[in-house]
């Protein structure tokens, strides 16, 4: 079993839709949870990070962590074609990082 599981997609939505991206994990020791956005032929860009359980909002993006279910989500409101990218979740335990395989998102104009 992988440490972090993420649906690879692709996920295709119309512009303006609400997007939900999710990851599950197996290690209850994870404390930091991150979401990265990776455009084609670019390095991953840190979007948001949260510590422990709860929600965090930044503009159109909301990150949610449910440690009891070992489940994290990233919500994108009013999605734009510029949001089309691969989204990777990541988690940290004692300075070791574990990445999901990424979900490819396509927002159609």
């Amino acid at each position: 079993q992988k440490e972090v599981e993420q649906d690879p997609g692709p996920l295709s939505v119309p512009e303006g839709a609400i997007v939900s991206l999710n990851c599950t994990y197996s290690n209850s020791a994870f404390q930091y949870f991150m979401w990265y956005r990776q455009y084609s032929r670019k390095g991953p860009e840190l979007l948001m990070y949260t510590y422990s359980s709860g929600n965090k909002e930044d503009g159109r993006f909301t990150a949610q962590v449910d440690k009891s279910s070992k489940y994290i989500s990233l919500f994108i409101r009013d999605s734009q074609p510029s949001d089309s990218a691969t989204y990777l979740c990541a988690m940290e335990d004692f300075n070791k990082f574990y990445f999901g395989s990424g979900t490819k998102l396509n927002v159609k104009p």
Partner: protein, 115 residues
């Protein structure tokens, strides 16, 4: 955050040769990491490079194949030695700023193709 640059951005190499990838950060950082990302796959950690000590390699990666240098707090190199087509991948360096938030920032990556 940190601004990270990598050189080269891409290269096409012949089997059996070696390529050295450079990673430069605009601020001093303790921990630098090297990852490999194959098409459609997640990031695989190759090694952690701390200044003043030997790099720590992950299972499946060895120093003879992927020697790493970390001469100071803003720079590191990764060499891919005796390359084969299986080494074709994107190689990424990243840094942990060591702040209250344990997060990593990535460079733009080096796209390597081995013929």
């Amino acid at each position: 955050s940190a601004v990270i640059s990598q050189k080269p951005s891409r290269d096409i190499c012949q089997r059996g040769t070696s390529l050295t990838i450079q990673c430069q950060v605009d601020s001093q950082v303790t921990m630098m990491f090297w990852y490999r990302q194959q098409p459609g796959q997640s990031l695989t950690l190759i090694a952690t490079a701390n200044q003043g000590s030997e790099a720590t390699y992950e299972s499946g990666f060895v120093i003879d194949k992927f020697p790493i240098s970390r001469p100071n707090l803003t720079f590191s190199t990764l060499t891919v030695s005796n390359m084969s087509p299986e080494d074709s991948s994107i190689y990424l360096c990243s840094v942990d700023m060591g702040l209250a938030s344990d997060t990593q920032y990535f460079g733009p990556g080096t796209r390597l193709t081995v013929l």
